[in-house]
Amino acid sequence: MEPKIGVYICHCGSNIAGTVDVEKVAEYARTLPAVVVARDYKFMCSDPGQDLIKNDIKELGVNRVVVASCSPQMHEPTFRRAVQEGGLNPYYFEMANIREHCSWVTESPKEATEKARALVSAAVRRVYYHQPLESKEVPVHPDTMVVGGGIAGIQAALEIANSGHRVYLVEREPSIGGHMMQLDKTFPTLDCSACILTPKMSMVGAHPGIELLTYSEVDYVSGYVGNFRVKIRKKARYVDDTKCNGCGTCMTKCPVKVDSEFDERLSKRKAIYTPFAQAVPNVTVIDREHCTYFLKGKCRACEKFCERNAVDFEQEDEILDIEVGNIILTTGYQLFDPTPLKEYGYGRLDNVITSLEFERMVNSAGPTAGHILLKNGQEPKSVALIHCVGSRDEKYHTYCSRVCCMYAMKFAHLLKEHVHGAEVYEFYIDIRSFGKGYEEFYNRVQKEGTVFFRGRPGEVTDVALTPEEKGKLIVQFEDTLVGKQRRLPVEMVVLCSGIEAHKDALDVAHTFNISIGKDHFFTEKHPKLDPVATMTDGILIAGCCQGPKDIPDTVAQASAAAARVLALIDKGKVEIEADTAFIDEAKCSGCRVCNLLCPYNAITFIEKDKVSRVNEALCKGCGTCVAGCPSGAITHRHFTDQQINAELEGILV
């Protein structure tokens, strides 16, 4: 059918019309080949504006539409919809950006009008060669995988499972719970962390819709949104989880003692163990790096004493192959290790501890039964809490870790509560108490008598200069609000370390094909407007793996990610953009250069046909393969050579 082009020049109020002579441009458009109508109008994106297009299609037989207005990022979907409602294929539409690329970047009307004419001319010539394209639809698998069993993963899994859909919750530790399980009380409500977390953990363990895969890791992911195939490695526990009932007899009999990771190495666990009493699942695991049997071939005491015959030294890793429609990453964080800050003495001086070590001590189920103790077993009479350790620092992490001010103040409160008469000092640069109830909590801690010094200490030393300093840890700092350097002797120093990404975050990002930032936190699709999606459709992120945050924000993000997933499952299908690459198999020489070039792993080589083929669901239309193909066998739909050349001609004419 002969192309009949309708051209519409938008005034956009004075945004365009203030600089570009829109009437002149419309006049010019009327002279262009195949143009049957050219109009200018105040606001093309408005209903009357869109009606102009629809009417012209109906009454004038317009079958190609050019709108010269703002950026396609703004209104391409709007106009495509209008064209479609008018009865045409939406891809018979082209937009010329005469605002962001034209009227907004020059103050000269002459230049702007000339450029607008060139842009319209290019769009007109291009749209002449547009083809009708159909967006593809792919079905969405209703199952979901959540990677990481901390509070974020638990929340997301429960939200989705409660709607009746299946969730695989994969956690690499022997139990779910994450770091939140290590905490004593949570700010600002001072809820007992385990008390609010364990009910959720139980729900996960008991939920018929959640397949809980602990002591497991994701080995390989392939596929695309709605259709992922995942290989999960269930690591060998050497304990049969269908038989073990968590009675704990094996733990009492095991002769090997290992530093407990859960207790931050402040206590010992056995080689066969559950990390903590409320573990879900309540099934032991054998740590083969320390087990006498695996190291020397002897012992097997656990096996002897297990009444359920649950110990199985022959057990092997199991690989599970599953299909899911969406994946939510909730892999969490690790605590910054303050050892490199030699000036604070962690590792060199006794009684300089990290925040997680403090949490374990103050926790009544912890290694010291809730007593905060010095190395000599006494309670400290004075404690210094240093903020911003490893955060806000060009040498370590430039970002602020968001939670440390609040947890430091929580520690101050707990110290006042646990240690009668203790002197507590906080050393801060700024107090960040931004959340609901946070500022009030700061006020409360001040009322309780904790002393706040504004000044990040220069060093913590044990070299005494006066008799009062002997045997103490001396914090040397400037009280910046007073303007004087001071030395404060205390008995214990708590380093409020920051949150950092897991050391293997880069590997995880590669496995799931998502972007990662310079601090190794996963990159969200848009920092303000889309914090739980990633640039890879179907993969979402929630919690601290996206950036440091407290529990309320983590839970909110987890629920948000779950909602996003449920919306997609509910819709049942997902639309794939039509401007994908297409390989002409007759021309393809099988060189596979495109396979390597594709940043989205969207091209596979078909062995039996010896040609490459594009998976259109994964293809993002970037054009790299099109440019790289030495045989010219790849076409980019909606960006064909003919269309692009026409566009260039339009500009040069």
Binding site: C388, K395, I429, G458, Q476, F477, E478, K484, Q485
Partner: protein, 184 residues
């Protein structure tokens, strides 16, 4: 007594080599907390930076504070914004001497004598420089140093005569070439 603020002071200091990051200071106090001699500073290092940003040029340069910097570089090693407070203090010293501020410290005289010794001899002539310094400031203080000076002398660590090297002529030629007044 409030002196007039000099708003150009910040850009003046920020334009000196190695002092450009002064704008990034978050006033955390690690520099003052680390400073070896902080107890002697009227305004500790962090406060000096705040005063520079406030344009308090006269207060800063009339104070003896900056002259207590011993170049231990603990501040520079620990600053979370990687600012170089020690370099800033020495840059301020140069401005103070060039513009003839008279802070209550003998270190100004010491630096001047030191520089003069180099200009005259090409190298520092320790005995002569110390002599000139004590005569200019407090001859009696020299008496306290006598035992130590004597010790050094008998251990052959205090040459009494200057050793003026040929290179001093080259130094002076270079100095003439450099427009006096630092960086402008």
């Amino acid at each position: 007594m409030e002196t007039k603020l000099k708003p150009d002071f910040l850009s003046e200091v920020a334009s000196i080599p190695a002092c450009d990051k002064i704008n990034e200071c978050i006033q955390c106090g690690v520099c003052s907390g680390s400073c070896t001699t902080a107890e002697h500073w009227e305004y500790p290092p962090r406060k000096i930076i705040a005063m520079i940003r406030a344009g308090m040029k006269d207060e800063v340069l009339n104070s003896s504070s900056i002259w207590y910097c011993v170049s231990c570089y603990l501040c520079t090693a620990r600053c979370p914004r990687e600012i170089k407070p020690a370099n800033i203090m020495h840059a301020l010293e140069a401005i103070a001497l060039k513009e003839n501020y008279k802070p209550p410290t003998k270190t100004t005289t010491m630096y001047r004598s030191f520089a003069r010794s180099i200009e005259q001899n090409g190298r520092i002539y320790e005995f002569g420089f110390m002599l000139e310094y004590f005569l200019k400031t407090n001859p009696f203080a020299a008496l306290k140093m006598l035992p130590m000076a004597f010790n050094l002398l008998i251990h052959k660590r205090m040459p009494l005569l200057p050793k003026a090297v040929e290179g001093r002529h080259e130094l002076n030629r270079m100095f003439s070439n450099i427009a006096t007044g630092g960086y402008r």
